[in-house]
Symmetry: C2
Subunit: 218 residues, 2 copies
DNA sequence: GCATGTGAATGGATTCACAGCT
DNA sequence: AGCTGTGAATCCATTCACATGC
């Protein structure tokens, strides 16, 4: 079937591609050359049919009777996910969360590069994160995005300002946004948002604890 | 139908309960007394049938012909989610992410309280976050959990140590874990884990950008 | 009349199971 | 023999549409 023409790939599928990529990277560091969907499934608690089906959306990467070549599949996934070149990022909001994200290792390696933080608070301008990512004035966003070919914006401001920040980033030419504010962003046609709501995860754990207390089966 | 006996509530449903709670809290601050599933759906981009179905799992909270009483529904949700009393939390790993999470407002209000951070690095012990949450030695985990009735652990250590930290927390009597390390934790029967993988979200945006470049429809 | 609560219908995603290749 | 790639079967979630009750 392979790819091209059609879009029909769910977010669930692409999320799993990222997981597979992690697994392969690990196997590669272990020096493993080849892996079957079955072995992947066992080692990383996945489902082998699902692995095969997910991969099959993008091409025929395996060899029947053998399995997948670890390095080759890995680079196919890197390409499929579009991280075979570096994408530049700006973080809006130089509070605790923004600063921590700026130095978060997963955000500054293998295809992503955080160029700067932006903040409207004059007291924060001119500082920088521990890893030396500078805090620049919010007003300079358009210039920054243009000059540094920034494609992704991360919103780490309070909920009240999040929508306005999104709109301003979109106007500045940002193409995709990762939102940490606990609010449903009203999306424009060409600027994709993905939201991460950290508190929801805690509440879900709390729900689980509560049910255990009440003697519900699981 | 209501609740009791059976468990059958999906995580998707409980996640939405959290969302509804946010919406209701907002409406309450706006002074609104009553709301219909239809209005909720319109204002917050949800689906009204789904709202009704989700709520119906836990009781009959509405009044036909009228809708839901905002405050009453809100406190029903608070109770359903088990955040009508405070649950204590410890964060393991006093690096950038751990420190930021310790001060993250969503984690220290309305049902959650972060007691301390734990770290194995002697240089970090004795410090505290900006909001004054102390960093204690990893060895004191069991005592800390017992003395402070800590129910939830947050893992903010590198991937290599995450599984060991999970196991140690479980041994110390922790009941639920929120994991930020990019690894699939092997779960024990009685200690629930929820994992948040921040990088996956970026990769998903990258995938989207890549497809746009390649001219795929969306 | 109006909005809830819910069975029935639809739509997706996951899993099964096997044909086909190496 | 072994493992991929995939149609068919199953499972789960969402949406529809209406009977029920205020």
């Amino acid at each position: 079937m392979a790819n091209s023409e059609r879009e029909a790939i769910s977010e669930l599928t692409t999320g799993r591609l990222s997981v597979y990529l992690r697994c392969l990277t690990f196997l590669e560091t272990q020096g493993q050359r080849t892996v079957s969907s079955h072995e992947l499934a066992e080692r990383f608690h996945l489902n082998s049919a699902q692995i095969r089906k997910d991969l099959a959306c993008f091409g025929e990467f395996g060899t029947r009777g053998v399995g997948y070549d670890v390095s080759r599949l890995k680079s196919n996934l890197v390409e499929t996910l579009g991280i075979d070149r570096t994408r530049n990022i700006v973080i809006v909001g130089a509070g605790n969360l923004g600063m921590a994200l700026a130095d978060y290792s997963g955000f500054n390696t293998n295809g992503f590069h955080i160029v700067a933080l932006l903040d409207a608070d004059p007291d924060k301008i001119g500082r920088s994160s521990r890893a030396d990512i500078p805090v620049l004035p919010w007003e300079r966003r358009a210039e920054l995005v243009r000059r540094n070919r920034i494609e992704i914006g991360i919103i780490a401001v309070p909920a009240e300002s999040a929508q306005a920040v999104y709109d301003a980033l979109a106007d500045a030419g940002i193409q995709a946004v990762l939102n940490f504010a606990p609010i449903q962003i009203k999306m424009r046609d060409h600027v994709k948002v993905k939201s991460v709501d950290l508190r929801i995860n805690l509440e879900s754990l709390s729900f689980h604890l509560k049910n255990r207390e009440d003697g519900v089966i699981v």
